[in-house]
């Protein structure tokens, strides 16, 4: 199984936000390392995650499944009745990834930001 480089950062918005910056292609071979890292930070107490996709040139359906699994890890009773996850947001997808997000309509389910500070402040 391939692995992704994932850097974990913290930022303070209205709540503490964990930033996961991913480098590499998120596909069938690598998506698990993203899911595992997310599980690790959630286990460590993270409640709000900003997923930085600025260095991801390709994301296949396995990547979208991993993102859904992350929203599941973070969800609670209040969020499960919302059409958008309040706990997971995306930052700065590359053009190629933004195109797939749009085709699949994932922008309907997740907020996407271009600016890091604005994203952190939105939580």
């Amino acid at each position: 199984m391939g692995t992704l480089n994932i850097m974990v950062g913290q930022a303070q918005g209205n709540v503490p936000v964990t930033i996961l910056r991913v480098e590499g292609d998120i596909d069938a071979a690598t998506h698990k390392s993203l899911q595992d890292k997310a599980a690790e930070v959630v286990e460590g107490g993270a409640t709000h995650i900003l997923l930085d996709l600025g260095a991801v040139n390709y994301m296949g359906s396995a990547g979208f499944r991993a993102i859904h699994a992350m929203t599941n890890m973070l969800s609670d009773e209040a969020s499960s009745e919302l059409s958008k996850s309040p706990y997971l947001k995306l930052l700065n997808p590359t053009e190629a990834v933004a195109r797939v997000i749009k085709t699949l309509g994932f922008d309907v389910y997740l907020d996407i930001y271009q600016d890091r500070d604005e994203a952190v402040g939105s939580f």
């Binding site: 199984m1 069938a28 359906s61 396995a62 979208f64 499944r65 991993a66 859904h68 699994a69 929203t71 599941n72 499960s80 009745e81 919302l82 059409s83 996850s85 749009k102 085709t103 699949l104 309509g105 994932f106 922008d107 309907v108 389910y109």
Partner: protein
């Protein structure tokens, strides 16, 4: 660091307990032990690499290693066992890679040392030959077992393929003034793509559905049957509204919206809650067509935009009206409407078309579909085969990596 193998006696003990060298005289074992070298290898280091030449065999004193080809693991080698002996005996390249599973202590013996030691005793070659043949018999047995298992799996998969074919329409309905054509080609035995065309039982509407479940293979195929069945079951008999039978077209469109929304919302909520842990989703285009007026109401849930080729040469894309189905229970979808006038053709497809890749890694793309399309063709089957030929020409020698599904309808001109 002190190893347990500093003395020749200890090395002899290790070698004589190895099945491969069983039967060798102590004098031969002593020569091997004297010429052997000890080697400490950390976990996850590749000791021999498939395809390379090598003249050394290794005995595991402590630790464990896997025999593999890339990600495929063939066997594990345990303490007291040998690896790399084949290339030493026949001077061919390594037939597989061997990587340590844990920190390991190895004894390595070079070809020159091995043959020199064996030539000192005429019975030694016989003993090694015996050991090699014993191992070969074991390998033949293993291959036979695996082949039998593989055949059984293939048979199961073939049964799966036949059952899955039953989840696609055996034939498409015949409708006055309309031509309908479809194409379905799985990349593997079973597929995640699906399409459906059926007349509603309670109204004159025609349902057209095309979908693509994420992922491939058996997992996608199981969910394909679920998505397809939920959509059909939740729409076939309309949606609890007696006005469905009324022919006034505005009411049919209103009802069509209700049926579409109920069907997609039901399907989405069911899969997103019942199978939440699977994170499986599908992109779905679901349209209800009033074949009298040509009005088409639709939901496009994260699917490649179907194309309407207008008789006047214009092309309209039916962009998404919601996200993919099956992930978020509270998802919302919108119904849009358009009209298929006489001479207009709607073409829907899955990403096996637009994402077909050639050997250079380029994708076929939406633009090439538009360029290849010949909506003026009188026969809609030919329309589909022209697109398919263009995709295959573009793909060239590259393999088909995804399922291909196409569904097209044409509103015929009444004077033709």
């Amino acid at each position: 660091m002190e190893t347990p193998l500093t003395s020749t006696e200890n090395r002899i003990d290790t070698l004589k307990n190895c099945a491969f060298l069983r039967g060798l005289e102590k004098s031969v074992l002593s020569k091997l032990a004297a010429g052997a070298e000890t080697l400490r290898v950390a976990a996850d280091e590749t000791v021999i690499t498939r395809g390379e030449t090598g003249s050394t065999m290794y005995f595991i004193v402590s630790g464990r290693a896997r025999v593999h080809d890339g990600e495929v693991i063939w066997a594990y080698i345990e303490e007291g066992e040998v690896f790399g002996e084949m290339a030493v005996l026949d001077s061919e390249v390594r037939s597989a890679s061997v990587t340590t599973e844990s920190d390991s202590l190895l004894l390595s013996i070079d070809r020159a040392v091995f043959y020199a030691a064996l030539s000192s005793d005429p019975n030694a070659f016989k003993a090694v030959l015996h050991a090699v043949l014993k191992r070969e018999r074991e390998i033949v047995h293993e291959i036979k077992t695996r082949s039998t298992t593989l055949l059984a799996y293939q048979k199961e998969l073939e049964i799966g393929r036949r059952i899955q074919a039953d989840f696609l329409p055996a034939s498409v309905p015949v409708i006055d003034n309309w031509e309908v054509a479809s194409w379905f080609e799985a990349a593997r035995e079973v597929a995640g793509d699906f399409y459906d065309v059926f007349k509603l039982k309670t109204s004159p509407l025609l349902a057209i559905v095309i979908g693509d479940v994420c992922d491939k293979g058996v997992g996608a195929a199981l969910f394909m049957t679920l998505f397809r069945s939920l959509i059909r079951a939740s729409s076939l008999y309309g949606y609890g509204d007696s006005s469905l039978a009324k022919p006034a077209s505005n009411e049919i469109i209103g009802s069509a919206s209700a049926i579409l929304l109920n069907s997609i919302l039901t399907t989405n909520r069911y899969i997103a809650t019942t199978h939440a842990g699977s994170s499986m989703f599908a992109s779905v285009f679901f349209g209800l067509l009033d074949t009298q007026s040509g009005k088409l109401s639709y939901v496009n849930a994260g699917h490649e935009a179907p194309m309407i080729f207008r008789q006047n040469g214009e092309v309209d894309l039916l962009d998404i009206t919601g996200g993919v189905v099956g992930l978020f229970p509270a998802a919302n979808f919108t119904v849009e409407t358009t009209r298929l006038n006489e001479g207009d053709l709607i073409f829907s497809y899955t990403d096996g078309i637009n994402e077909a890749k050639n050997l250079d890694g380029q994708q076929f793309g939406e633009d090439r579909i538009l360029k290849a399309a010949a909506p003026e063709e009188n026969n809609i089957d030919i329309f589909l085969s022209i697109i398919l030929d263009a995709v295959r020409d573009f793909r060239g020698e590259a393999e088909q990596s995804d399922d291909i599904t196409m569904l097209a309808l044409k509103h015929l001109s009444s004077e033709t």
